[in-house]
């Protein structure tokens, strides 16, 4: 309905983009005029901008860099801050964004991750968090272990929503307890040395809602649960579930509507029980 209104009223709109040439370099703003077409999403806007490579004042500029993959909100790679809110740019439709009086689009990279270039950020910390809580099913054997245990229908209903997580970063971007960690590469530092330093820096910082939820998912998986206690120990390590400040932004911004705060409370309960067992002995 909004689209129809704009069809008749606007021929172009403004896009302001927070750009950055590389890791550690200063950010700056550029404004672009984009010709309006119906049914555009932010990705198609970025495609037009790349094709023009010209700012609103007519100066030539480098194409704005962004990353995207699936274009159907299941891969998470095109996550950015659009008009102040974190979301996927593929499912951000221009017709919905240009509502009311504001005929401007503001695009920024996520603020909690190191910028690679323009709107592309390094999401390594998200995947490192999954490693930190061992968010997988352990199957380290060559032997055929036979079919795994059955998962009840009721348990499937709980697990499925958690399995929809695409590690996009929205929950961490919106979390006031999750703060940016950026490790600058030293001159002549090898990839291995740099990665080691980066991981060390990440490993004492908050793991974020996504990793907590994934730990709960794999603790509910009958085979994954074989290392449930190990995961709970990791979950209560430095930067673990205890860092949560209950602002509950994660669950509100999650594009997959994953019950993240439920996972966090489940993790809180599981860790409470785990610690009591550990300190006072299993009976």
């Amino acid at each position: 309905m909004i689209k129809d209104a704009y069809d008749q009223t606007i021929s172009s709109f403004t896009v302001r983009i927070e750009r950055q040439d590389g890791p550690g370099s200063p950010s700056y703003w550029e404004t672009f005029d984009v010709t309006y077409e119906s049914d555009m999403n932010v990705i198609s806007v970025l495609q037009r901008i790349a094709a023009m490579s010209e700012t609103a004042t007519g100066e030539k500029t480098t194409p704005v860099a962004w990353s995207c993959g699936c274009l159907e909100e299941v891969c998470g790679s095109c996550t950015m801050v659009i008009n102040g809110k974190v979301r996927q740019s593929c499912s951000a439709l221009v017709d919905n964004l240009l509502d009311g009086t504001d005929q401007e689009l503001v695009l920024q990279p996520m603020s909690k991750f190191p910028v690679v270039r323009d709107l592309v950020v390094d999401r390594q910390r998200i995947f490192r968090s999954l490693q930190r809580v061992e968010a997988w099913v352990p199957v380290d054997t060559y032997y055929d272990m036979g079919p795994g245990p059955k998962v009840s229908r009721a348990q499937q209903e709980i697990n499925y929503p958690l399995s929809e997580c695409m590690s996009c970063g929205c929950c961490m971007e919106a979390c006031p307890q999750y703060t940016k960690v950026e490790v600058v590469r030293a001159d002549g530092e090898s990839d291995a040395d740099y990665d080691k330093r980066v991981n060390e820096a990440y490993d004492t910082q908050f793991i974020g809602p996504q990793a907590i939820s994934q730990a709960m998912l794999f603790n509910s998986h009958p085979t994954g649960a074989q290392i449930a206690e190990e995961r709970l120990e990791l979950l209560s390590g430095p930067g673990g579930v205890q860092v949560c400040g209950n602002a509950q932004n994660c669950v509100t911004v999650c594009p997959k509507e994953i019950p993240l705060t439920t996972s966090i409370a489940r993790a809180g309960r599981a860790v409470t029980v785990h610690k009591f067992k550990k300190w006072f002995g299993k009976s």
Partner: protein, 267 residues
């Protein structure tokens, strides 16, 4: 993790859980009892004085209880709270959601509560009870105004100024919000209420608990404002003399106001 971790990092879980627990036991629990005891002023001077007598029947152990279960836990909770506040970055302007506002409010009320309690303890209790401190520092600048054996009259006198009672009202409301909202977040932290439905219900209950405690806390302010100070002082002296005679209270003229103390010491 090959890097050396700090003490805080190695024990972060334990430290944060102790911080969470200390908010309820003993700090929050003490606050509720304290506000209820204050509210007894609405039953009259005698009622309030009797509760203070009961507390002071511990004699010198009052100091131990004060430090072990009240001052030290509050200091522990507050100092860690400040550390945690500066570890987060609030973002309500970008994400103006209800729980996010409460995240900020929890931190703001925590800071208000800290400075309020600091002022309140110095103003009323004074912390150091030695005579030299009272005479040279406390009395001239208006600290240590509360006298346990003139409980109603001295508390009322300290709260006669409407600016003071106004600041007390703000302080009490900040403490109560911090307690009620903290109770709710604590239930999530420890995993008591897990599902969104349970969390919602718990937030209503915490709101109700907070509202009741706020009314109790503020009612005491009204009660103290209405005390007839001269009458209360006279009644307190009567209660003191009779209490000593019957042996129901410990004689300690230091816990009386100066005019009555001198008389008692001359006896």
């Amino acid at each position: 993790m090959t890097q050396e971790m700090s003490f805080f990092e190695r024990h972060e879980f334990m430290i944060r859980r102790l911080h969470s627990l200390s908010g309820l036991i003993p700090v929050g629990a003490f606050m509720v009892v304290h506000l209820m005891a204050n509210a007894s002023i609405n039953n009259g001077t005698e009622s309030y004085q009797k509760i203070v007598y009961q507390i002071h029947s511990l004699g010198p152990a009052v100091l131990v209880v004060e430090w072990l279960f009240i001052f030290l836990p509050i200091i522990f909770h507050a100092l860690l709270g400040f550390v945690f506040i500066f570890q987060g970055r609030s973002n309500v302007s970008k994400y103006p959601y209800q729980a996010n506002y409460r995240y900020v409010a929890q931190r703001v009320t925590g800071m208000i509560a800290f400075f309020f309690i600091l002022w309140h303890v110095l103003q009323m209790n004074g912390v150091i009870h030695a005579d030299w401190f009272r005479e040279t520092i406390a009395d001239p600048i208006g600290l240590a105004q509360f006298r346990p054996y003139n409980a109603a009259s001295t508390a009322a006198k300290a709260l006669q100024n409407p600016i003071v009672s106004g600041l007390y009202a703000i302080g009490i409301l900040a403490c109560v919000f911090h307690f009620a909202n903290g109770l709710w977040t604590m239930g999530i932290t420890w995993g008591v209420w897990v599902s969104p439905k349970a969390q919602k219900m718990a937030s209503h209950i915490c709101l109700g608990v907070g509202a009741i405690i706020a009314v109790i806390g503020l009612s005491a302010l009204v009660g103290f404002y209405k005390v007839d100070i001269d009458k209360a002082e006279a009644r307190e002296l009567e209660m003191y003399e009779q209490g000593i005679k019957s042996g129901t209270i410990l004689a300690d003229p230091h816990k009386l106001i100066d005019s009555q103390r001198a008389d008692q010491e001359n006896h």
